[in-house]
Structure formats: structure tokens, C-alpha cells
Symmetry: C2
Subunit: 586 residues, 2 copies
Amino acid sequence: MIEKLINVAAKREKAELVLKNARYVNVFNGKIESGDIAIHMGKIAGIGSYSGVEEIDVANFTVVPGYIDGHVHIESSQLSPEEYASLIVPRGTTTIVADPHEIGNVCGMPGIEYIAKASENVPLDVKIMLPSCVPATPFETSGAVIDGAEIERNIDSGYIYGLAEFMNYPGVIGADPDVIKKLEAAQKSRKVIDGHAPTVVGDELNAYICGGISTDHECVENSELEEKLAKGMYVHLRHGSSTRNLVSNSKSVTASNMRRFIICADDRHAADLKEKGDMDDALRTLVRSGFNPIWAVTIATLNTAEAYGMKWKGGIAPNWTADLVVVDDLENFNAKYVFKDGKMVAKDGKPLFDTSKRYLPEDVLNTVHVRDVRPDDFKYEINGNFVNAMTIKPGNIVTGSEVVRVKNIGGDIDVSGTDLLKLVVVERHGVNGNIGKGILKGYGFRGGAMGITIAHDSHNIILLGDDNASMARAVEELKTIGGGMVIVDSAENRTYSLPLDIGGLMSSKAAESLQRESKALIERAYSMGVDREQEAFMSLAFLSLSVIPKVKILDTGLFDVDKFAFMPLEAEEGPKNKVVVNVKVK
Amino acid sequence: MIEKLINVAAKREKAELVLKNARYVNVFNGKIESGDIAIHMGKIAGIGSYSGVEEIDVANFTVVPGYIDGHVHIESSQLSPEEYASLIVPRGTTTIVADPHEIGNVCGMPGIEYIAKASENVPLDVKIMLPSCVPATPFETSGAVIDGAEIERNIDSGYIYGLAEFMNYPGVIGADPDVIKKLEAAQKSRKVIDGHAPTVVGDELNAYICGGISTDHECVENSELEEKLAKGMYVHLRHGSSTRNLVSNSKSVTASNMRRFIICADDRHAADLKEKGDMDDALRTLVRSGFNPIWAVTIATLNTAEAYGMKWKGGIAPNWTADLVVVDDLENFNAKYVFKDGKMVAKDGKPLFDTSKRYLPEDVLNTVHVRDVRPDDFKYEINGNFVNAMTIKPGNIVTGSEVVRVKNIGGDIDVSGTDLLKLVVVERHGVNGNIGKGILKGYGFRGGAMGITIAHDSHNIILLGDDNASMARAVEELKTIGGGMVIVDSAENRTYSLPLDIGGLMSSKAAESLQRESKALIERAYSMGVDREQEAFMSLAFLSLSVIPKVKILDTGLFDVDKFAFMPLEAEEGPKNKVVVNVKVK
């Protein structure tokens, strides 16, 4: 291998492939340079004047290194890893650092292994991070527990690249013993530990970093970002579907700190990947905002490779991995060709690899182990007439709470004729049959029930409705289809659903058919009253995310994230018999 | 450990040490920042407002990360690793990447292990690179051979950090099978491979880098440097005693490529270390030349750490190694305090550690295994009256050659009354008793012999003289003292010598006494006629370095470096009976 490459570089042998007359971004000196790029056995052999067995003239294009997404949950696309690759590789992403946190919560280590093995079917380099926080908090019921001992057992597995985002930042700052065990295992094996510490600054940030955590992708304020960077962290510019701090955070980039910026998608929906793109869309967006295009490319390639210790990746030079994107220009970043390990794997936005292959082990199928439910299971027994309702702002996964008056009909709450809905989480991992109950204000749905088996982060069933029978029927349907999304229309007496057969999170179908079906279901939810500023099902999926303020619903009950403790559903009437409205919404 | 550090960062426990009111160089954002630096268990726990069990007010100083020398041969100081550390640590160098190439050539792997073990006596982090080219060429006799198989056996040893400078660049470019074996072994174990490729550019450079070689410290021309950098190499600014391209090469540094520059000493004499300094002198020199001081610090710290894959080193931030230098300012870089792993190890330029410890295993002592020699062994039998003489320019290790007329006295050459000297290399590793013979023009010594057991790179005895008896006597003396430097004065009939007891290369004495004695011996050499523009003994030591053009003397004979082949001592008379002078001197 080495000998062959040297022989090609020295022109004693012909290169397999030469990109003739290339104009390329040199991330080492920040210049646009030119030459023929000789490619052999997956690597760049040389740049200069070369001839190859195959030659492609790229004179009218610009060559950039393949993009590296530093942190992404494939599951958020609701696509299999194979189908995910078929969307992003043609866009120019050739490497991702994947955190299979969602499937880890449902299936444990077999779910993580599934992502690794499925990824082998496609020409995308998938670095698997071992989820660090399964479950996200000890307060809820997940399908699996990956504790310190489990991390110790698995961190050195060949397919594990590092320890994934440490979301339990209070646990790190507080030096929780099981957290320490996880961090120690990762440090011992010299693995990268990803961070996730929204709003954490000052001494607490010092403490967090002392866990050996070297990246963060949760910066909201630029001052927070700049402090994290100053304290040695690599900081992600994030270009997710919901959370996009790319452009605002990019205002902190200077010539002196540019090398410490990296990039990620975090969570990106199939529709965005298909219609807008992936890292290419991030670059386009940055450059359109006035950002230096060479910096943009460097951040998405060399910097991310360095942050994650990927050698010989992210640059165009001899002996570097031949992951290359041939784009029209550094403004539009439209990928004409994509090369992975020296092979052309996409052309004109279309994958050139088999996109129909699916690795589908039993472990990740049939994961809805929910108990039989009856309408009576959704009765709400309270004593008085006031409850702590959850409130939700459109486009924001941060929730609030408000004390509201409800109609207590004796042994149940009747939400009909109000802007309130029953919101429940039904445990679906076959552990305890819990049903956590809350009241949601202002979502807008009426006339039945809707639910989904994606409910961050434990992925139980999250379900809302205004009649108990529909709610029970929705659960039954989700059980029948093996996980997915469901709407029960009580007026029509009909059930509409879409299976997400892989862990109840992802579909084994092609992106196109999944999108078509899911669009129809989402439209039905809107037609049944869901506020169009909500994301119908996906906004629902975040109402159980117990690491995001302020009040969330878990299978174990209503949870106050700020206090990190449960709170009662039933509220005391406020002083002087008035309804107390809690206005402190972050 | 992790827990303790977090507790200190979060102020639940007191730090062992706090540098109060620190002004420090933040290499992550290129700013000067301030705060208390809390240090605990060898790491920085946090920067902010901290109190410690011990506190040192550094308000009037500037704190920078400990310097990292990216490539150095400790042997060039002629000091033991312990004594070497006692000179450089008080200057602020806390980590070095050491290539024990010289002792490797004499003692093989035991010599390399010696450097590693001796380094454990001192608070200096010594990363040991496995010498890649022992012997430097297959044409000479060294004390050891470290071939591909030996590299394979040792590259994964715990104390080996990487593969040292690959000087055999023709072997890499030509894909020599044993060279490939070495490169493959290093790549397989994911080790850094250092480069050494003077003047190599173009396709040959592509080929060289395809060996997996990621650094170079041999750039002379800036165009060469810029090409190497553009091709993905980290480029060393070198601040050696003889070879200093620091300032001239630094003219190539820009904001866009700065991150790819690193720094090294390569070869630095004890006198320079003592009088001028080490990396601190490099920084001083750079800044005085107008170089950005923050860039200078970054190059000597974070950049070098990144190039060599040292995690959590080279920066001042939470969880980073507490290797710190407290300097007066960023102009003079005078070190007030030096901290290694959080401990104060030097103050006011003086080491605070035991400098008298020496690890001295049998393996590296008594290494002069030379055969008994008689004056007749130094007779030169030639047929005609012309020889290819070596020529030497002061201050330059590149040599030339010239055809000169000699006095053939039948069975010997008489150099008396000329500007010619006999120059020989006597094999001293107990292998074959070779004596390679040459004629040196213009060195200036007269009236006896002088020699040294440092003779790059195989470190046989290199010896010059104008009478055979003195030359034989010089060899006997070197044998008696176990290696070192010698002068025989035939007029006085006296011998003067200085032992270099460690491998015939280094002294186990303290720097001061070695310097005093060596100064006296050097002065004697000058008084016997050595051109004062030469370095007396050290210029001699490079006349056998067969990888530097143009003509060198080996134990096996006269060697044409450009042709990479032996050349005869005896020359044909030139056309028309004139003396042919070869003027092509690089």
C-alpha cells in the first residue's frame, strides 16, 4: 500500500484517478491553489502534473475536502443510516461523528452496534460515539441503562470512537460517582469526550471541562461561546433543523481563534437534508452571511478532523484521505462529484451507491413493549380544580408552566371545550407500565388523540388527546405497527399511522416514501387543530426531554427541570382564590 | 483524580497551588487574559477567582504554557539527559521530542532505552522517537543496525512515542523495501513519523510525504518551506547551534498558516543552552526580529503539541497539563518560575530538582571497541601524485572536493609542509577494524593529530593529523578514556584529552566542568593552527556525515554523497597534465 502510493507520487506508476486542472482549497495555508490531484488506493498521492488511468477534468469547479459533521444523531432524520448516507453523501459529507443516543435509549448497546454495522453498507465514514447519558436522567424509564460499568465494558470496543455528548452536566459538575466512572473509562482509553453544557459558564464550566470534555455544541450566547473557546474547548457551529446557531455564533470567529471552531448538524430532519442539504447548506448559509468561504471550508474539514483526532483527514495533500467534493463554487457549494476514499460515490446530487441495502437485525425491530391499555387508564383523578399545566412556545423546546383551572368531573378531568389537552407518557420498554400524566395548554389539537414513539430521550410513547378511548386506541395502534406516529380521529372513528419500525424511531423505508407519508400525517394533525407554528409530531417529541427547561412530562410524572425534581400535577389554588400564573418562562 | 480536579474547579476543595493575578497568553484565541490559575494534581483546575493551599502572586509577570521542543538530539549537547534537563527546564522547556539517533548508532536499542530511563530522573517530559535511520546509510559501519524488523519489534514499546526523522529520503522516494517496512510499522501503530528532507520538493516531496511523514525541520529556502506546508506538513522553525533558520523561515508565517508552524532545537550545544538559552532564546530571537509574540508562544506550545498528538498540552485552560512558565515579559522571556505537572521545578533560572542523579547503565559505557593500531596503519599507498581531496567552508557542513597534487613518498603520502591533512575514520564498534582514508584541505591544524569519537552518524573515530605516530597515539588515547576528544602534540610529545564516557558522545559530568575542559581543549586545537572559523572538533564530527553533500569520509572510504557511491582517493591527472579543480561546491 505505502509502496504503491509512493510509486504513484513519484510517477513510476500511474494513478488510478486524476482530477485534472483542479482548483482547490488548501486548508493548510488558506489559499486557493491548483494542480492535478492524483488519487490512488483511497489516498491522494500527489498534487502537481499527473496522469491517471482515469482522468476527470475539473477545470470549471473547485475541489474541497469532504465535509466532516462533528456531531449528529442520525435518528433525528427518522432514516436508517443507509438512507441517511444516501441523502448527505451526495451533498459532500463524507464523515460524521454519530451519537446513537436515541436508539441507545431504546435498545442499549445492540442499538449502537446496529448503527455501526448499518453504516458499513455505505460510503460514509461513521465514527460512533458511545452515548454517555442513557437514560438522560435517573427519573424516567428507558429501554436500556448504559451506566459507568457498561461504559467501561464497551469504550474500548473496536467500533467505538469516543464518548458522546455528556448531557448530564450537573452530574459532571457535582462529580457524581457513576459519571466519574464513565469519564475515567473514556480518559483511560484516550477517547474524545464530547460536551453538551448549555449556559454553563464560570467555575461550573471549569469543573465541567475538568471531566476531560473537549467540545461543546450548545452555545447560545456568543459570550458563552467565547468563554468556552478561551477555556480550550472546540466549539461547534450548529446547523440543525430546529437549533441553528451557525450564523449568530459565527460572528465570534476571528483569524486568531478560527482553528478552534468546528461544525455539526446535531439533529437534522430528512426534509431539510433533502431540500436544503447538510454541511453544504451550512457552508452556503455561512458564506451568504458574509463569512470567509475558506474559513467555512476549514471549519467543516481540517478543524473538525483535528478536534476529533482524525489523522490525514480534512485536507487536500499527499497521503491525505481522498475524501473530496467537487463543487461549482465557494458560494453555492453545489456538489458535482463526491469522492470517498478515492471512489466517486455521488454525481450531480445523486448517490452512485446501492441505497436499497438495509441491515435490519431483530434487536432494533419490534421495540414497542407496551402494556395493554384501557380508556380508564387515561383518567385523571385529582381533588381540587387546579393543575400545573405545561405551556409551550412555538419553535422552542423550552416549556413553561402555568396554574390553570380544570373541570374536575369526579375521578377524571374533562378537557373538552377548553384549550387544554391530556398529555401522557406511556412506558413502552416492557419495564413497569408507567403512565405519566400532565396537562398541556395551547397545542391546538382537538377531536381524538395523537402520539409518537419518539419521546426524547427515553422514547416512551408520548400522547395527547381529548378523549380517553382515542388515547387508548392510539397506544394500541402504535403497538400494532411496532412504533411510529399515530392519529386517532374520534369523529371519523378512524386511525391513521406511519410505522417507524427501527426502534420506533426510524423508518426502514426510502426517504422519499417516508417523507410523503409523514407529510400527509402531519397535515392531518394540522387539520385537526394543531397550531401550525408547532412541528406537529416533533414538537410533541420534545415535551418529555427532561434536560431542557422548564417542565416536562415523563413516564414517571410531571418534572421540574430547573429543580431537577418531580412536581405534582395538582396545584394549590393561588392566594386570595386567584389563579396564579407562573410567568417565569425561559 | 478526575473527581478531585472537578471538586477544586467547583471550589468544593482548595487547590494545591494558585498563581494569583495571572496575566497569561491564551493560545486558543490569541489574547492576553487574566485570572487566578488554580493548579491541582498536575493539572490546571480552573481560571477565575481561586484560593489555594499555596498561593504565588504573579501580578508582575506573564504566564505562558511550558515550551515544547518538537525535535532535538540531546546527544548534541554532549550532556546526559539529566544535565540537559537542568539547563533547559529553568529556561521554560517542559517537553521535548527527543531523537536519540546518535546513541542509537553506537548502542542500538539499549542506548535509546538509556535516554528514556535517564529522563525519568528529571521533571522534563521526554517523548522518545525511535531512530529510523541507523545506520544513516548502508555504506558505513555503525555500532548497531535498526532495520525494519527491529523497528517492527520496538515501535509499540511503551517508551517509544514515534518514528524519528526519516533522513533516508532517497530510500522513501525510491520505496526501498526495508524503508517501507519501517514506515508500515509506524503507520500501523498510528505513530507520528518525523521528516528530514532538505531541498526535496515537487513530485519527490509528494512521494516522501506518502510515506506517512508529517513534519520537516530542514527547510532552507522559504519557497521550499511553503511548499511543504501547503502539502500538509508541519514545518519546524529551527533554532540549533549551527543550523538556525528560525528568523528567515519565520518570514513565511501568516495568520492563515500559523497553526502549521512548530519549533525545534535539533542540535544545540551546552554552551548555547547555558549562555543563550533554549526555546526561550528562540522566542526572544523571533520577537526581536519583529515576530508577533503571541504567535511565537503558540508555535512553541499548542502547535507543537498538536503536531505530535499530545492531548491537553500546550495551553492554559481547565484540565490542561500544568506545565507553565512565568516570564518577565513577552519580549525577554526570562523565566521567573517554571512549573512542570503543577510543581515548581525552577526559579530564577536555577533548577529546583536534584541535578546530580545519573542513570548510567553498562550498556552505554566503554563503547570504544577499536582495534590496536600502529603508525603504519595510517600510511596512504597510492600510485600517482593526485588525490581527490575534501574541502570545507567555515560554518557549513556541506563539503566540496578538489583534485590536488600530493607528495607520494612511496607507500605513503607526506603532507608535511602543505595545507593538506590526513583525515581518517577508524571503525570503533568492534565490527571490522576498517580505516577509511581521505585528504582534507584547508583545516589548518599542524604538528600532531586530533580526533573525536563523535563522527556523524555512525560515530566511529574521526581523526586528522600530519604524522602517523601521533594519529596512532590519538586512537590509543580515545580507547583508554572510553571515548571523547583528543589532541596529540608531536612537538611537545604530549596528549590532551577529554572523556565523553556515555557512548563516546556525552559526558556524565556537570555541564559546567565539561564546558570548562572542552573550552581548553578547543583552544589548544586553535593554537595548533585550526582555522578559527571552524568549530575545531564539531566541524570535524560532521566530515563523516554521509547524508550531507558533497564528499565525506567513512570508515569504508571516501564517499560521494551526490552520487551516493564511493569514490577513489586517488585521482587521475586532469586533461593536458593540469590539475583539475572541481569547483561545483554547493
